[in-house]
Symmetry: C2
Amino acid sequence: MSVITIERKVLEKNDEIASKNRGLFQEKGVFAVNLVSSPGSGKTSLLERTLEFLKGKARIAVVEGDVQTDLDSRRIEKYGVPVVQIVTNGSCHLEAKLVQDAIGRIDLNDVDILMIENVGNLVCPSGYDLGEAMKIVIVSTTEGDDKPLKYPAMFRNSSVLIINKIDLLPYVNCNLEDLKNNALQINPKLRIFETSCTTGLGIRDWSEWLLNKGSNS
Amino acid sequence: MSVITIERKVLEKNDEIASKNRGLFQEKGVFAVNLVSSPGSGKTSLLERTLEFLKGKARIAVVEGDVQTDLDSRRIEKYGVPVVQIVTNGSCHLEAKLVQDAIGRIDLNDVDILMIENVGNLVCPSGYDLGEAMKIVIVSTTEGDDKPLKYPAMFRNSSVLIINKIDLLPYVNCNLEDLKNNALQINPKLRIFETSCTTGLGIRDWSEWLLNKGSNS
Protein backbone atom coordinates (compact mmCIF):
# COMPACT_ATOMS: atom_id res chain seq x y z
CA MET A 1 0.00 0.00 0.00
CA SER A 2 1.53 3.32 -1.01
CA VAL A 3 1.28 6.69 0.62
CA ILE A 4 -0.45 8.00 -2.47
CA THR A 5 -3.28 5.49 -2.03
CA ILE A 6 -3.74 6.50 1.58
CA GLU A 7 -3.67 10.15 0.56
CA ARG A 8 -6.38 9.55 -2.01
CA LYS A 9 -8.57 7.81 0.55
CA VAL A 10 -8.12 10.68 2.99
CA LEU A 11 -9.11 13.14 0.26
CA GLU A 12 -12.11 11.06 -0.83
CA LYS A 13 -13.35 10.90 2.75
CA ASN A 14 -12.78 14.67 3.06
CA ASP A 15 -14.72 15.38 -0.15
CA GLU A 16 -17.62 13.27 1.09
CA ILE A 17 -17.94 15.30 4.29
CA ALA A 18 -17.36 18.56 2.38
CA SER A 19 -20.36 17.67 0.18
CA LYS A 20 -22.50 17.22 3.28
CA ASN A 21 -21.35 20.61 4.61
CA ARG A 22 -22.13 22.19 1.23
CA GLY A 23 -25.59 20.62 1.20
CA LEU A 24 -26.28 21.96 4.68
CA PHE A 25 -25.12 25.48 3.72
CA GLN A 26 -27.41 25.45 0.68
CA GLU A 27 -30.37 24.15 2.69
CA LYS A 28 -29.90 26.88 5.30
CA GLY A 29 -29.15 29.64 2.78
CA VAL A 30 -25.67 30.23 4.18
CA PHE A 31 -22.95 31.72 1.96
CA ALA A 32 -19.75 30.08 3.22
CA VAL A 33 -16.29 31.35 2.32
CA ASN A 34 -12.92 29.77 3.05
CA LEU A 35 -10.29 32.45 3.72
CA VAL A 36 -6.79 31.25 2.87
CA SER A 37 -3.40 32.97 2.98
CA SER A 38 0.14 32.95 4.31
CA PRO A 39 0.55 33.56 8.04
CA GLY A 40 0.28 37.27 8.76
CA SER A 41 -1.41 38.40 5.55
CA GLY A 42 -4.17 39.97 7.62
CA LYS A 43 -7.03 37.45 7.48
CA THR A 44 -8.18 38.19 11.02
CA SER A 45 -7.84 41.96 10.61
CA LEU A 46 -9.85 41.76 7.39
CA LEU A 47 -12.50 39.76 9.24
CA GLU A 48 -12.64 42.45 11.93
CA ARG A 49 -13.06 45.27 9.42
CA THR A 50 -15.70 43.26 7.52
CA LEU A 51 -17.65 42.54 10.71
CA GLU A 52 -17.60 46.25 11.59
CA PHE A 53 -18.86 47.25 8.14
CA LEU A 54 -21.57 44.58 7.93
CA LYS A 55 -22.84 45.05 11.52
CA GLY A 56 -26.63 45.19 11.34
CA LYS A 57 -26.60 44.43 7.59
CA ALA A 58 -26.01 40.65 7.67
CA ARG A 59 -25.89 37.83 10.18
CA ILE A 60 -22.34 36.54 10.15
CA ALA A 61 -20.72 33.61 11.94
CA VAL A 62 -17.02 32.78 12.03
CA VAL A 63 -14.99 29.57 12.26
CA GLU A 64 -11.36 30.18 13.23
CA GLY A 65 -8.68 27.65 12.32
CA ASP A 66 -5.27 27.81 13.99
CA VAL A 67 -2.43 25.41 14.66
CA GLN A 68 -2.37 26.67 18.24
CA THR A 69 -4.04 29.28 20.51
CA ASP A 70 -7.48 30.88 20.58
CA LEU A 71 -6.03 34.37 20.03
CA ASP A 72 -8.04 34.88 16.84
CA SER A 73 -11.42 33.78 18.17
CA ARG A 74 -10.89 36.03 21.18
CA ARG A 75 -10.38 38.94 18.78
CA ILE A 76 -13.53 38.03 16.83
CA GLU A 77 -15.87 37.44 19.78
CA LYS A 78 -15.59 41.13 20.68
CA TYR A 79 -17.77 41.79 17.62
CA GLY A 80 -20.68 39.86 19.15
CA VAL A 81 -20.95 37.23 16.41
CA PRO A 82 -20.99 33.44 16.87
CA VAL A 83 -17.41 32.14 16.62
CA VAL A 84 -15.99 28.64 16.99
CA GLN A 85 -12.23 28.09 17.33
CA ILE A 86 -10.67 24.99 15.80
CA VAL A 87 -7.16 24.25 17.11
CA THR A 88 -5.59 21.79 14.68
CA ASN A 89 -2.79 21.00 17.14
CA GLY A 90 -0.04 20.81 14.56
CA SER A 91 -2.00 20.10 11.40
CA CYS A 92 -1.30 22.53 8.59
CA HIS A 93 -4.83 22.92 7.16
CA LEU A 94 -8.52 22.62 8.03
CA GLU A 95 -10.43 19.53 6.92
CA ALA A 96 -14.15 19.16 6.23
CA LYS A 97 -14.69 17.03 9.35
CA LEU A 98 -13.33 19.77 11.62
CA VAL A 99 -15.65 22.29 9.96
CA GLN A 100 -18.57 19.84 10.27
CA ASP A 101 -17.92 19.63 14.02
CA ALA A 102 -17.57 23.41 14.30
CA ILE A 103 -20.80 24.27 12.47
CA GLY A 104 -22.62 21.78 14.72
CA ARG A 105 -22.14 24.40 17.43
CA ILE A 106 -23.68 27.26 15.43
CA ASP A 107 -27.39 27.72 14.66
CA LEU A 108 -27.14 28.08 10.88
CA ASN A 109 -30.78 29.20 10.71
CA ASP A 110 -29.54 32.51 12.07
CA VAL A 111 -26.61 32.88 9.69
CA ASP A 112 -26.37 34.55 6.25
CA ILE A 113 -22.60 34.42 5.81
CA LEU A 114 -20.15 31.95 7.33
CA MET A 115 -16.52 33.02 7.23
CA ILE A 116 -14.04 30.21 7.76
CA GLU A 117 -10.51 31.43 8.48
CA ASN A 118 -8.14 28.63 7.53
CA VAL A 119 -4.71 27.95 9.01
CA GLY A 120 -2.09 30.40 7.68
CA ASN A 121 -0.50 28.38 4.91
CA LEU A 122 -0.34 29.18 1.20
CA VAL A 123 0.16 25.53 0.17
CA CYS A 124 -1.74 22.78 1.97
CA PRO A 125 -5.25 24.26 2.44
CA SER A 126 -5.57 24.58 -1.35
CA GLY A 127 -6.24 20.84 -1.66
CA TYR A 128 -8.96 20.51 0.98
CA ASP A 129 -12.57 21.29 0.16
CA LEU A 130 -14.47 22.31 3.31
CA GLY A 131 -17.85 22.63 1.59
CA GLU A 132 -17.44 26.38 1.05
CA ALA A 133 -19.05 28.28 -1.83
CA MET A 134 -15.60 29.64 -2.71
CA LYS A 135 -12.07 30.07 -1.51
CA ILE A 136 -10.87 33.63 -1.04
CA VAL A 137 -7.10 34.05 -1.11
CA ILE A 138 -5.55 37.02 0.67
CA VAL A 139 -2.05 38.17 -0.17
CA SER A 140 -0.39 41.20 1.37
CA THR A 141 1.77 43.60 -0.59
CA THR A 142 4.66 42.92 1.82
CA GLU A 143 4.90 39.35 0.51
CA GLY A 144 6.06 40.52 -2.92
CA ASP A 145 4.48 40.26 -6.35
CA ASP A 146 5.74 36.76 -7.28
CA LYS A 147 3.60 34.70 -4.90
CA PRO A 148 0.89 33.65 -7.42
CA LEU A 149 3.60 32.09 -9.62
CA LYS A 150 5.35 30.36 -6.72
CA TYR A 151 2.19 29.02 -5.04
CA PRO A 152 -0.14 28.59 -8.03
CA ALA A 153 -2.56 25.99 -6.66
CA MET A 154 -4.01 28.38 -4.11
CA PHE A 155 -4.64 31.05 -6.74
CA ARG A 156 -6.02 28.52 -9.22
CA ASN A 157 -8.49 27.14 -6.65
CA SER A 158 -9.68 30.52 -5.39
CA SER A 159 -12.45 32.66 -6.86
CA VAL A 160 -11.47 35.93 -5.22
CA LEU A 161 -8.10 37.56 -4.53
CA ILE A 162 -7.83 40.23 -1.86
CA ILE A 163 -4.61 42.24 -2.03
CA ASN A 164 -4.22 43.52 1.50
CA LYS A 165 -1.87 46.06 3.17
CA ILE A 166 -2.18 48.37 0.16
CA ASP A 167 -1.07 51.21 2.46
CA LEU A 168 2.42 49.65 2.67
CA LEU A 169 3.05 49.75 -1.09
CA PRO A 170 5.36 52.80 -0.88
CA TYR A 171 7.66 50.98 1.53
CA VAL A 172 7.93 47.49 0.01
CA ASN A 173 9.34 45.85 -3.07
CA CYS A 174 6.03 44.93 -4.71
CA ASN A 175 4.68 46.03 -8.07
CA LEU A 176 0.88 45.99 -7.80
CA GLU A 177 0.31 45.55 -11.54
CA ASP A 178 2.80 42.65 -11.67
CA LEU A 179 1.08 41.03 -8.69
CA LYS A 180 -2.32 41.28 -10.39
CA ASN A 181 -0.99 40.10 -13.75
CA ASN A 182 0.77 37.14 -12.13
CA ALA A 183 -2.44 36.18 -10.34
CA LEU A 184 -4.55 36.52 -13.51
CA GLN A 185 -1.99 34.49 -15.46
CA ILE A 186 -2.64 31.60 -13.06
CA ASN A 187 -6.39 32.20 -12.86
CA PRO A 188 -7.97 34.66 -15.33
CA LYS A 189 -11.34 34.42 -13.54
CA LEU A 190 -10.12 35.85 -10.23
CA ARG A 191 -12.20 38.74 -8.87
CA ILE A 192 -9.67 41.13 -7.29
CA PHE A 193 -10.15 43.53 -4.40
CA GLU A 194 -7.53 45.86 -2.94
CA THR A 195 -7.76 46.59 0.76
CA SER A 196 -6.02 48.16 3.73
CA CYS A 197 -7.25 47.25 7.19
CA THR A 198 -5.24 50.19 8.57
CA THR A 199 -6.69 52.97 6.38
CA GLY A 200 -9.97 51.22 5.56
CA LEU A 201 -9.34 51.44 1.82
CA GLY A 202 -11.41 48.96 -0.17
CA ILE A 203 -13.24 47.52 2.83
CA ARG A 204 -16.56 48.90 1.60
CA ASP A 205 -16.22 47.41 -1.91
CA TRP A 206 -15.25 43.99 -0.62
CA SER A 207 -17.88 43.96 2.16
CA GLU A 208 -20.68 45.07 -0.14
CA TRP A 209 -19.74 42.37 -2.63
CA LEU A 210 -19.82 39.79 0.19
CA LEU A 211 -23.15 41.15 1.46
CA ASN A 212 -24.62 40.85 -2.01
CA LYS A 213 -23.44 37.25 -2.31
CA GLY A 214 -24.80 36.47 1.17
CA SER A 215 -28.18 37.99 0.34
CA ASN A 216 -28.58 35.87 -2.77
CA SER A 217 -27.72 32.46 -1.35
CA MET B 1 -2.88 0.07 8.22
CA SER B 2 -3.42 3.59 9.47
CA VAL B 3 -2.27 6.88 8.01
CA ILE B 4 -0.26 7.48 11.17
CA THR B 5 1.79 4.33 10.54
CA ILE B 6 2.53 5.40 6.99
CA GLU B 7 3.43 8.87 8.20
CA ARG B 8 5.87 7.39 10.73
CA LYS B 9 7.53 5.28 8.05
CA VAL B 10 7.89 8.30 5.78
CA LEU B 11 9.50 10.26 8.62
CA GLU B 12 11.80 7.37 9.57
CA LYS B 13 12.96 7.10 5.98
CA ASN B 14 13.46 10.86 5.88
CA ASP B 15 15.49 10.84 9.10
CA GLU B 16 17.69 8.09 7.73
CA ILE B 17 18.62 10.13 4.64
CA ALA B 18 18.95 13.30 6.76
CA SER B 19 21.55 11.48 8.86
CA LYS B 20 23.50 10.64 5.74
CA ASN B 21 23.36 14.28 4.59
CA ARG B 22 24.53 15.40 8.05
CA GLY B 23 27.42 12.92 7.98
CA LEU B 24 28.46 14.23 4.58
CA PHE B 25 28.31 17.86 5.74
CA GLN B 26 30.49 17.02 8.76
CA GLU B 27 32.98 15.08 6.65
CA LYS B 28 33.32 17.97 4.20
CA GLY B 29 33.33 20.68 6.88
CA VAL B 30 30.16 22.29 5.54
CA PHE B 31 27.97 24.34 7.87
CA ALA B 32 24.44 23.74 6.54
CA VAL B 33 21.45 25.86 7.53
CA ASN B 34 17.78 25.32 6.74
CA LEU B 35 16.01 28.66 6.24
CA VAL B 36 12.31 28.42 7.08
CA SER B 37 9.53 31.02 7.09
CA SER B 38 6.13 32.05 5.78
CA PRO B 39 5.94 32.95 2.09
CA GLY B 40 7.23 36.48 1.60
CA SER B 41 9.14 36.93 4.86
CA GLY B 42 12.23 37.78 2.86
CA LYS B 43 14.29 34.57 2.84
CA THR B 44 15.64 35.16 -0.67
CA SER B 45 16.34 38.86 -0.04
CA LEU B 46 18.20 37.91 3.14
CA LEU B 47 20.21 35.38 1.16
CA GLU B 48 21.10 38.06 -1.37
CA ARG B 49 22.28 40.51 1.29
CA THR B 50 24.23 37.73 3.05
CA LEU B 51 25.94 36.68 -0.20
CA GLU B 52 26.92 40.30 -0.85
CA PHE B 53 28.38 40.71 2.62
CA LEU B 54 30.26 37.40 2.66
CA LYS B 55 31.63 37.70 -0.88
CA GLY B 56 35.32 36.76 -0.74
CA LYS B 57 35.03 35.83 2.95
CA ALA B 58 33.43 32.38 2.68
CA ARG B 59 32.55 29.86 -0.01
CA ILE B 60 28.76 29.61 -0.03
CA ALA B 61 26.39 27.36 -1.96
CA VAL B 62 22.62 27.59 -2.06
CA VAL B 63 19.79 25.09 -2.47
CA GLU B 64 16.48 26.73 -3.36
CA GLY B 65 13.18 24.99 -2.56
CA ASP B 66 9.97 26.18 -4.20
CA VAL B 67 6.59 24.71 -4.99
CA GLN B 68 6.92 26.14 -8.49
CA THR B 69 9.26 28.30 -10.60
CA ASP B 70 13.01 28.90 -10.61
CA LEU B 71 12.57 32.62 -9.86
CA ASP B 72 14.62 32.36 -6.66
CA SER B 73 17.59 30.45 -8.09
CA ARG B 74 17.72 32.94 -10.96
CA ARG B 75 18.01 35.74 -8.39
CA ILE B 76 20.76 33.86 -6.54
CA GLU B 77 22.88 32.83 -9.53
CA LYS B 78 23.63 36.49 -10.21
CA TYR B 79 25.90 36.35 -7.14
CA GLY B 80 28.16 33.78 -8.79
CA VAL B 81 27.67 31.03 -6.22
CA PRO B 82 26.66 27.41 -6.90
CA VAL B 83 22.86 27.14 -6.69
CA VAL B 84 20.51 24.19 -7.25
CA GLN B 85 16.76 24.72 -7.59
CA ILE B 86 14.38 22.09 -6.22
CA VAL B 87 10.83 22.44 -7.55
CA THR B 88 8.62 20.37 -5.24
CA ASN B 89 5.73 20.54 -7.72
CA GLY B 90 3.01 20.93 -5.13
CA SER B 91 4.67 19.53 -2.03
CA CYS B 92 4.65 21.88 0.92
CA HIS B 93 8.14 21.22 2.33
CA LEU B 94 11.61 19.96 1.41
CA GLU B 95 12.59 16.42 2.32
CA ALA B 96 16.04 14.98 2.97
CA LYS B 97 15.99 12.97 -0.27
CA LEU B 98 15.47 16.10 -2.38
CA VAL B 99 18.39 17.78 -0.62
CA GLN B 100 20.51 14.65 -1.07
CA ASP B 101 19.85 14.84 -4.81
CA ALA B 102 20.57 18.57 -4.89
CA ILE B 103 23.91 18.40 -3.05
CA GLY B 104 24.98 15.64 -5.42
CA ARG B 105 25.26 18.44 -8.00
CA ILE B 106 27.52 20.64 -5.84
CA ASP B 107 31.21 20.00 -5.06
CA LEU B 108 31.04 20.20 -1.27
CA ASN B 109 34.84 20.24 -1.07
CA ASP B 110 34.58 23.86 -2.22
CA VAL B 111 31.84 24.88 0.20
CA ASP B 112 32.06 26.35 3.73
CA ILE B 113 28.41 27.26 4.19
CA LEU B 114 25.36 25.66 2.54
CA MET B 115 22.17 27.68 2.73
CA ILE B 116 19.01 25.70 2.06
CA GLU B 117 15.96 27.88 1.44
CA ASN B 118 12.91 25.80 2.26
CA VAL B 119 9.41 26.20 0.78
CA GLY B 120 7.60 29.20 2.28
CA ASN B 121 5.48 27.51 4.92
CA LEU B 122 5.49 28.12 8.67
CA VAL B 123 4.01 24.70 9.48
CA CYS B 124 5.10 21.64 7.51
CA PRO B 125 8.89 22.12 7.11
CA SER B 126 9.26 22.12 10.91
CA GLY B 127 8.84 18.33 11.01
CA TYR B 128 11.38 17.42 8.32
CA ASP B 129 15.07 17.12 9.16
CA LEU B 130 17.21 17.74 6.06
CA GLY B 131 20.54 17.02 7.76
CA GLU B 132 21.18 20.70 8.51
CA ALA B 133 23.24 21.91 11.49
CA MET B 134 20.30 24.10 12.44
CA LYS B 135 17.01 25.58 11.33
CA ILE B 136 16.85 29.35 11.07
CA VAL B 137 13.35 30.80 11.21
CA ILE B 138 12.71 34.17 9.60
CA VAL B 139 9.66 36.19 10.55
CA SER B 140 8.91 39.65 9.19
CA THR B 141 7.46 42.45 11.31
CA THR B 142 4.54 42.72 8.88
CA GLU B 143 3.29 39.30 9.99
CA GLY B 144 2.48 40.56 13.50
CA ASP B 145 3.90 39.65 16.90
CA ASP B 146 1.72 36.61 17.64
CA LYS B 147 3.20 34.16 15.12
CA PRO B 148 5.50 32.26 17.54
CA LEU B 149 2.47 31.40 19.68
CA LYS B 150 0.32 30.39 16.71
CA TYR B 151 3.00 28.32 14.92
CA PRO B 152 5.08 27.08 17.86
CA ALA B 153 6.71 23.99 16.32
CA MET B 154 8.79 26.04 13.90
CA PHE B 155 10.12 28.28 16.66
CA ARG B 156 10.72 25.31 18.99
CA ASN B 157 12.73 23.45 16.34
CA SER B 158 14.82 26.43 15.24
CA SER B 159 18.07 27.64 16.81
CA VAL B 160 18.05 31.15 15.37
CA LEU B 161 15.26 33.67 14.80
CA ILE B 162 15.76 36.47 12.30
CA ILE B 163 13.23 39.27 12.62
CA ASN B 164 13.22 40.83 9.17
CA LYS B 165 11.68 44.00 7.67
CA ILE B 166 12.61 45.95 10.81
CA ASP B 167 12.34 49.12 8.70
CA LEU B 168 8.57 48.61 8.41
CA LEU B 169 7.95 48.66 12.21
CA PRO B 170 6.59 52.25 12.17
CA TYR B 171 3.88 51.26 9.68
CA VAL B 172 2.64 47.92 11.00
CA ASN B 173 0.82 46.55 14.00
CA CYS B 174 3.73 44.66 15.55
CA ASN B 175 5.32 45.15 18.96
CA LEU B 176 8.94 44.05 18.65
CA GLU B 177 9.34 43.27 22.36
CA ASP B 178 6.15 41.18 22.34
CA LEU B 179 7.37 39.32 19.25
CA LYS B 180 10.71 38.50 20.91
CA ASN B 181 9.07 37.55 24.21
CA ASN B 182 6.58 35.30 22.46
CA ALA B 183 9.40 33.57 20.58
CA LEU B 184 11.50 33.14 23.74
CA GLN B 185 8.47 31.80 25.60
CA ILE B 186 8.30 28.98 23.03
CA ASN B 187 12.08 28.52 22.84
CA PRO B 188 14.26 30.30 25.42
CA LYS B 189 17.45 29.25 23.61
CA LEU B 190 16.69 31.15 20.38
CA ARG B 191 19.50 33.43 19.18
CA ILE B 192 17.73 36.50 17.77
CA PHE B 193 18.90 38.85 15.00
CA GLU B 194 17.01 41.90 13.71
CA THR B 195 17.47 42.75 10.04
CA SER B 196 16.26 44.90 7.20
CA CYS B 197 17.21 43.88 3.67
CA THR B 198 16.12 47.34 2.50
CA THR B 199 18.28 49.48 4.82
CA GLY B 200 20.93 46.83 5.51
CA LEU B 201 20.36 47.03 9.27
CA GLY B 202 21.64 43.95 11.10
CA ILE B 203 23.02 42.22 8.00
CA ARG B 204 26.60 42.58 9.28
CA ASP B 205 25.82 41.04 12.70
CA TRP B 206 23.96 38.10 11.21
CA SER B 207 26.49 37.49 8.42
CA GLU B 208 29.47 37.64 10.77
CA TRP B 209 27.79 35.17 13.10
CA LEU B 210 27.18 32.85 10.14
CA LEU B 211 30.76 33.29 8.91
CA ASN B 212 32.06 32.40 12.35
CA LYS B 213 29.94 29.26 12.44
CA GLY B 214 31.04 28.33 8.92
CA SER B 215 34.71 28.81 9.81
CA ASN B 216 34.50 26.49 12.78
CA SER B 217 32.69 23.55 11.17
